[in-house]
């Protein structure tokens, strides 16, 4: 697990930024007129693409794959969560941002736990 404060700080900032950015964008794009399933699929794809705007500059500062993979996963999760919520009921900008922020935090935590678990399985030689 990453314990160096500079990189932990970078991971938190990058995933929070990506979550808020994707959340606000998806909240603005989707509304109750959307079919929830279609909104989810489109939101996940757009979220991943949009999160690249955060992944590349933050990756240059805080690490390549260690930033890009969690941030793009955050984009996917935030896109899914906010687009589905917006398809069910109108969401404010603030609520979209908060949902995106929670998505980023949850995804980063998931990535840290997954990292510990997967690195522990290093004896299984696969790509």
């Amino acid at each position: 697990m990453e314990t160096r404060p500079y990189f932990v700080f970078g991971d938190i900032v990058a995933n929070s930024l990506a979550g808020v950015l994707v959340g606000v964008a998806m909240g603005a794009l989707f509304g109750p007129s959307w079919n929830m399933f279609i909104a989810m699929i489109v939101g996940m794809g757009l979220g991943m693409v949009l999160s690249m705007a955060v992944a590349f500059p933050m990756g240059a500062l805080f690490g390549a794959m260690e930033v890009m993979v969690p941030v793009m996963t955050t984009g996917m999760v935030a896109g899914m969560v906010v687009s589905m919520t917006a398809a069910m009921e109108p969401v404010s900008v603030m609520r979209s941002a908060v949902l995106g922020l929670y998505s980023g935090g949850g995804t980063l935590l998931f990535c840290y736990v997954a990292n510990i678990w997967i690195r522990g399985r290093a004896s299984k030689w696969t790509s």
């Binding site: 240059a60 690490g63 260690e66 993979v69 793009m72 690195r119």
Partner: protein, 201 residues
């Protein structure tokens, strides 16, 4: 010479250090230093030396031949190579067309290389040819993941990344085995995406 790959990396050379020179190198430094500490006294081939970002992590007084397909990358590497306390010869060439004799090197090192070699198994077979029997290859590589959701992510990212740089979904460990190397050790650095691979010819 694979002119498409050469052109891609010549173009990337101008901004390569901006993207890869600080965060990624700082984050990977402890792992790379540990991997490169295995550089021995014999002849060493370093494949895809790029702009020389890894050179400061090399142990001193080693005899290294650093190759890269991009002459623009090699030009960027020269100042870092000039500061190295040891012998590094820089040469531009394609891994698929290396003019070296069979078994010329004792060890081979790579760093984020086989995400970009267009025909990775053939490239690894070319490395095995120039490595002495029983010689070591040590690799610091990023690959695809076998785990959801990272598997989806890496496949998705590759559709964009391969146009300007590396693939994100390579199966490098399997490729090493397929090329005829005897796999000795794999250590995951981040998820199963960034890893250190050691094998013997």
């Amino acid at each position: 010479m694979d002119v498409v790959t050469k052109a891609k990396w010549d173009k990337a050379a101008a901004n390569f250090d901006l993207m890869a020179g600080y965060g990624p190198e700082k984050r990977w430094e402890p792992f790379k230093r540990r991997l490169f500490s295995q550089m021995g006294e014999g002849r060493i081939l370093f494949l895809a030396i790029g702009t020389g970002l890894d050179v400061p992590f090399f142990p001193p007084q080693r005899n290294i031949t650093g190759i890269d397909i991009s002459d623009q990358m090699i030009e960027k590497a020269r100042p870092r190579v000039a500061e190295y306390d040891g012998d590094i010869e820089l040469r531009q060439m394609d891994v698929h067309e290396m003019p070296f004799e069979d078994g010329e090197f004792d060890q081979i090192f790579t760093s984020c290389t086989f995400c970009s070699v267009p025909r990775p198994v053939e490239g690894l077979q070319a490395l095995r040819r120039v490595l002495k029997p029983g010689g070591e290859v040590h690799m610091f590589e990023h690959t695809g993941s076998r785990y959801f959701p990272f598997l989806v992510m890496m496949n998705f990212m590759t559709q964009f990344s391969r146009r300007v740089g590396p693939d994100m979904n390579r199966t490098t460990v399997e490729n090493v085995v397929e090329a005829g190397f005897q796999l000795e050790h794999v250590e995951h650095v981040f998820l199963d995406v960034v890893k250190m691979i050691s094998a013997r010819a």
